[in-house]
């Protein structure tokens, strides 16, 4: 099949117009797709100083060229916009089946502009694209929305086959920690992308695609896919650990290493860790594992809690970050309660990491006496599972303390006069690794373009887990270059449409991605070309943030992590020595001491 240029849908909700545009192939080659192309479009079309919740902000859904192509783990898309949580670039990744379906309908992505006067949803059925009234879907949870949307479609086959991405009440209520949920259980979680969708009155996108994705060279593509699949099947993490135990398997090892964030990062070892581990999940609530589109790993967890009554439910997850932060992070060791909290977050469309971080902040404020009982009407002590569930409702519906907490931990801590108790970077809550015992991860957090994030340079793989080259977690030596390298590789995975977990198998690096991309696109990339694309993506994100008003002062960590030594575990006595890594990192990046890319670097990357 002849390969033509990639196409995107541009929807203007104010003007009610829908256009299909083709993407310039030079741009495709430079930015690959997904995270790269979406960011480039946002950078070119949106003023970085725009109010994120105004109609002038754009919301970009972008898959990668490998998404839906049959490449193993080619299941991902990105939601890119200016974040209402951080005011930096937002770029949230999700898998499932919706992204591949969008590709099969013949599109790489969707650009959403403006604001609809009343709630709408976008229905895409191959070449037929239209906006439909979503008044009846409004106020529904993400699960109810999927069911009601199908019921709204007259054609039974279409109603059955569409894949859906939607927001829940949290997005409608413009919670700055709201996410977009697709396929009921998969979250484009971070940075409040759900609030931007809510601000546009866009409740959902439903898509059916029946086309095949054309390949530049079927034979070389198929051979490259086979080689990649073999690597995933041979890798112990991707063939055994993740399928059998899911990501929550990390709870025990991260705890053993003394970097398991506990009670809002006040401690780093949690006595109840084994009760909330992946092994315990497998023995208790796991029904079976589940895969995203074309994924041989299948790390997803289909779970069901049957008792006690208050925690009853079924769904997917919890994943490691979720179980850790809703659990140890809030001092809770009741896996049924955590699993329920995870279900609620998905149904309401709240990011689990930020929701958990916000609750942990509230709990510390409360225990220290800064958050008076009369303001909340509940006992918010660490370990109180009922309080956790109640706060999740409140954040989704902006009730009670949720009126403030819906905007995340930073706004909450600031409102009650103690911003130092907020554990985040660029106003985004931290993931589930204490960087005092994994120094490079601290640099990753501080320099991530979307605020605190673990998937913008997962150095835990090297520092703790020994995937690929093992690095000493407690030293700062060599970390700047390791972080830079992993940031670029990650950007390439994210732009290609591959799940990052595929990179956890031995040998799954640039060469393998290059062969698949070349077979598909015919661009003839070298591995170094791809690394350059990764660097280009990193730098254009940085440029967006600089224009939005960010400075080097924002590349930092909470004071607790920089100044208060850990009191437990192997890394006892350590702080995160960010100041020993950051200058070297800037210099390796070709940035000045203020973190601004030099003219030469931008010229080299074609970004001038």
């Amino acid at each position: 099949m002849e390969r033509s240029t990639e196409r995107i849908i541009r929807v203007n909700l104010t003007q009610k117009t829908i256009m299909v545009e083709s993407i310039d192939s030079t741009l495709m080659k430079q930015f690959i797709g997904g995270r790269g192309l979406g960011t480039k479009i946002l950078y070119d079309e949106v003023d970085p100083k725009v109010d994120p919740l105004s109609p002038d902000n754009k919301l970009i859904f972008m898959a990668g060229p490998l998404t839906g192509s049959g490449a193993p783990c080619g299941s991902r898309y990105m939601v890119i916009t200016k974040s209402p949580l951080t005011s930096a670039i937002a770029c949230s990744n999700s898998g499932g089946h919706f992204p591949a379906e969008l590709r099969s309908a013949g599109y790489l992505g969707i650009i959403v502009e403006g604001k609809a006067p009343t709630p709408v949803y976008l229905l895409i059925d191959d070449d037929t694209v239209h906006l439909r009234d979503a008044t009846l879907l409004w106020k529904k949870t993400t699960h109810q929305t999927e069911d009601a949307l199908r019921a709204d479609i007259a054609d039974a086959a279409l109603a059955r086959d569409v894949r859906i991405a939607s927001i829940g009440p949290a997005g409608e209520n413009l919670s700055r920690i709201a996410c977009v949920i697709n396929d009921k259980h998969r979250a484009a979680g971070r940075s409040g992308v759900g609030a931007v969708m809510g601000s546009k009155n866009l409740k959902a996108i439903a898509v059916r695609g029946t086309k095949k994705i054309a390949k530049h060279n079927n034979d070389t593509f198929t051979a490259a896919v086979r080689a990649a699949t073999e690597r995933l099947k041979a890798g112990p993490v991707t063939s055994q650990g993740l399928p059998k135990f899911g990501t929550a398997i990390l709870v025990n090892i991260i705890n053993e290493c003394g970097i398991l964030p506990t009670r809002n990062f006040q401690q780093s070892v949690f006595a109840g860790a084994s009760k909330i581990s992946g092994e315990t999940l497998a023995e208790t609530y796991l029904v079976r594992n589940k895969a995203c589109y074309a994924c041989p790993i299948a790390c997803g967890r289909l779970t069901k809690v049957t008792s006690p009554e208050t925690f009853k439910g079924e769904g997917e997850g919890p994943e490691y970050e979720t179980v850790e932060l809703l659990g140890a992070g809030c001092g809770i060791d009741d896996l049924a309660a955590i699993t329920k909290a995870n279900y609620l977050c998905n149904e309401f469309g709240l990011d689990t990491i930020s929701a958990a971080g916000t609750v942990a902040t509230a709990m510390e404020l409360y225990e220290k006496g800064y958050l008076p009982y009369k303001d909340i009407g509940m006992d918010l002590r660490f370990g109180n599972a009922e309080a956790l569930l109640s706060m999740i409702y409140d954040m989704a519906y902006r009730r009670g303390l949720g009126a403030v907490a819906a905007d995340g931990g930073y706004v909450l801590a600031q409102t009650y006069g103690h911003p130092e108790l907020f554990m985040g970077v660029k106003r985004q809550e931290l993931p589930a690794y204490d960087p005092r015992g994994a120094q490079g991860m601290g640099l990753t957090y501080a320099t991530s373009n979307r605020g605190a994030c673990h998937v913008r340079g997962y150095l835990i793989a090297n520092e703790i887990l020994g995937v690929h080259e093992k690095l000493d977690p407690l030293t700062t030596q060599g970390k700047a270059s390791a972080v830079k390298a992993i940031q670029e590789l990650t950007a390439v995975f994210d732009a290609s449409g591959l799940c990052l977990f595929a990179s956890l198998a031995p040998g799954m690096g640039y060469d393998v991605v290059r062969d698949m991309l070349n077979g598909l696109t015919g661009f003839g990339y070298t591995s170094e070309d791809l690394r350059c694309c990764g660097e280009r993506i990193w730098n254009i994100e940085r440029l967006f943030n600089l224009k939005a008003g960010f400075t080097a002062a924002d590349d930092t960590l909470p004071k607790r992590l920089l100044e208060e030594p850990l009191t437990q575990g192997g890394p006892k006595g350590m702080v995160c020595m960010l100041d020993k890594m950051l200058p070297e990192y800037y210099s390796l990046r070709g940035w000045d001491t203020q973190g601004v890319p030099s003219k030469e670097k931008l010229a080299e990357l074609g970004l001038l």
């Binding site: 055994q240 993740l242 025990n252 887990l465 020994g466 192997g570």
Partner: protein
């Protein structure tokens, strides 16, 4: 008589089957001769040396390697052994 030391041993996931008799909840106090190395410990437990694994000794993680194998155990060391895992 050879002097011995006692360590705290924890095995996880697929490795639990190598736990000595009397272990509870994946843990055991384990006696081994003074001067024994990680390699000696793995051999004693029957854990295949050549397979990748992560060995956390007193809260610091090490990848399975010759260097790690040569580490000598001390009284009351806490040794936790995991198959290769990752995620996040």
């Amino acid at each position: 008589m050879q002097k011995t030391i006692t360590i705290e041993l924890k095995l996880f996931m697929f490795l639990k089957k190598y736990l000595p008799a009397g272990a509870t909840e994946g843990k055991a106090r384990y006696e081994i001769e003074e001067g024994a190395t990680i390699k000696d410990l793995l051999e004693r437990l029957g854990i295949p040396i050549e397979e990748d694994k992560i060995i956390v000794i007193n809260g610091i993680s090490h990848k399975q390697s010759d260097k790690t194998n040569a580490i000598r155990l001390k009284q009351d060391d806490v040794v936790a052994i995991f198959p290769p895992i990752a995620g996040g």
